[in-house]
Amino acid sequence: MSSGSTMGAPAADEAILALQNVSKFFGTVIALSDVTMRLRRGEVHCLLGDNGAGKSTLIKILSGVHRPSAGDYFVDGRAVRFDSPKNALDLGIATVYQDLALVPLLSAARNFFLGREPRKKWLGFVKVMDLDACARVACSELAEMGIGLRDPHQAVGTMSGGERQSLAIARAVHFGARVLILDEPTAALGVKQSAHVLRLIHRVREKGISVIFITHNVQHAYPIGDSFTLLDHGRSLGTFTKATITKDEVLDLMAGGAEMRHLTHALQGEPARGAPPELP
């Protein structure tokens, strides 16, 4: 089915996830129109676009929150129809949303296993939560992500934004994610914390997990990404591998890239090529 692809996309058996001509309508609003994308195994695939480009609709389709109005969704080359995010999760497609699904007042260890608590028998008959195991696993999984927890029983609210992001990602990885969808993981973070999250994405890729990294920040996406799909007003502008596109070209393709350059030139007092006529 990938034979008809216009972008030199890999064969279906190489792609762990694939969307083929997917559209999504909300009433008369066209949120996504005819989007085709492929996620190759073990790659970091950046989904770029400005606000309102359709990024959130796309991840909601990928994670099983929405069903496409038209088009097909393939996992491991097989067409799927998800009724709920649970279906996607069962196939190893885990989404880390911006709110991270962490409870601030709860400890890191308890958050890590929230909803999937390991249990043991207490005195041989009462099932209790195995808090020691929670703490142990949370600590070691976070250490793997390069975070040294001071105390696994500290409230998540006391952790930094980067640490929380790491906790959410480590949790998804621990529970068997094959595909990790990260929704703007660096949006609320400072420079250092963002760098940490990018390193984290690299580490996840080294584990063989495929990553979809949603962002509007090309500075964050370009260094880590293997391929880039650009969205604009619900349409795909195409998928590009790193070898076929430069950072500036990505910026240009994103709505606003050219505008930013015009602005830069205007502020520096140089007339830019193709600049809009200046006001008299």
Partner: protein, 386 residues
Amino acid sequence: MPGSTAEVRARAAAAQSAAGQQQIRAEPRALRESRLRRLLNRPEFASMSGTVLVFVIFGFAAGGSGMFNLDGIMNWSQVSAYLGLVAVGACLLMIAGEFDLSIGSMIGFAGMMVAIPTVYFHWPISLAILFAFAGSMALGGVNGYLVMRTRLPSFIVTLAFLFILRGLTLALSILFADRTIVSGLGDLAAQDWIARGLFQGVAFHGLFSWLGQAGLLRTLDDGQPLVPGVPKVLLWWFALAAAGAFVLAKTRFGNWIFAAGGDAVAANHVGVPVRRVKISLFVFSAFCACLYAVLQVCDIGSAAADRGLEKEFEAIIAAVIGGTLLTGGYGSVVGACLGALIFGVVQIGIGYTSVPSDWFRVFLGVMLLIAVLFNHYVRRRALQAA
């Protein structure tokens, strides 16, 4: 001689404190601090210090008045126990992020559900008790279902039930019994071995009689001990508190309670059945209220339409004094029980002092205010990046 004893004590204390210091020095500084922090950050911390404070104050103010004799202790601990029962339910529900303002009215209603079928329809009292538990818990379920279904604040929904249930209690008792106090249940309960065995009177009567005969307890003129035993409500309180504390701290369901109150959306995202957790806690809260009513009816021998008045507020106050956050997600059953203990000690203890008992409510209000301020300080600390 006393001089030398004091000297020995002082030396022992000095040695002890030196050993303590050495131990502390051996620990890394950060660890020591984090332990202190952890103690300060425990939700029970305020109520523990409050309990100590209250006992010290009343130890001085009412130490010689008999408040701390066995009969005095039974006096205030029984008041604490009754409140403690409903405080456990209220506290768990509050940690899950909801309120139940219908607890007090539920106590009155459940009492009538025991009394009217027993006295006017001649049901066996144990059957009426079963009926009351089933009825109350069903009403609790309705409460919870409405809150979840309408997504209205539980404050409003259960406030409505506060009035509905109190009104129904009055109206139905007039309708069926033509009176608002139904009495004569004490003897009926005494004849029913389930009601007598589980809910009426005291436990360990034999032990207390034996202690009285052995001269270890004060006895009445007829040789019976002045305090016949441990009121069963105390045992119920301990059992309920232990079970509640265990579930909250150690089980998966406890984790879900914290998560549902801390951030219901996040909890939902990771698969916690938030609705089920909250509704079952509304049911549990109603169960606690019914247990209160059953114990009271069996013990006093009557039910009245105004029973349990303001208990919903007292239960919430106990929970808040115990460190439970009004916003949910944080709190402790042990703390709520200490809150109930403080409540009982102050309410009854004030009668043992020369202070007019009118001051009880003033004291309570001030205590509540301090507790709330302290809780929010603790919460800020708990969420502060260390």
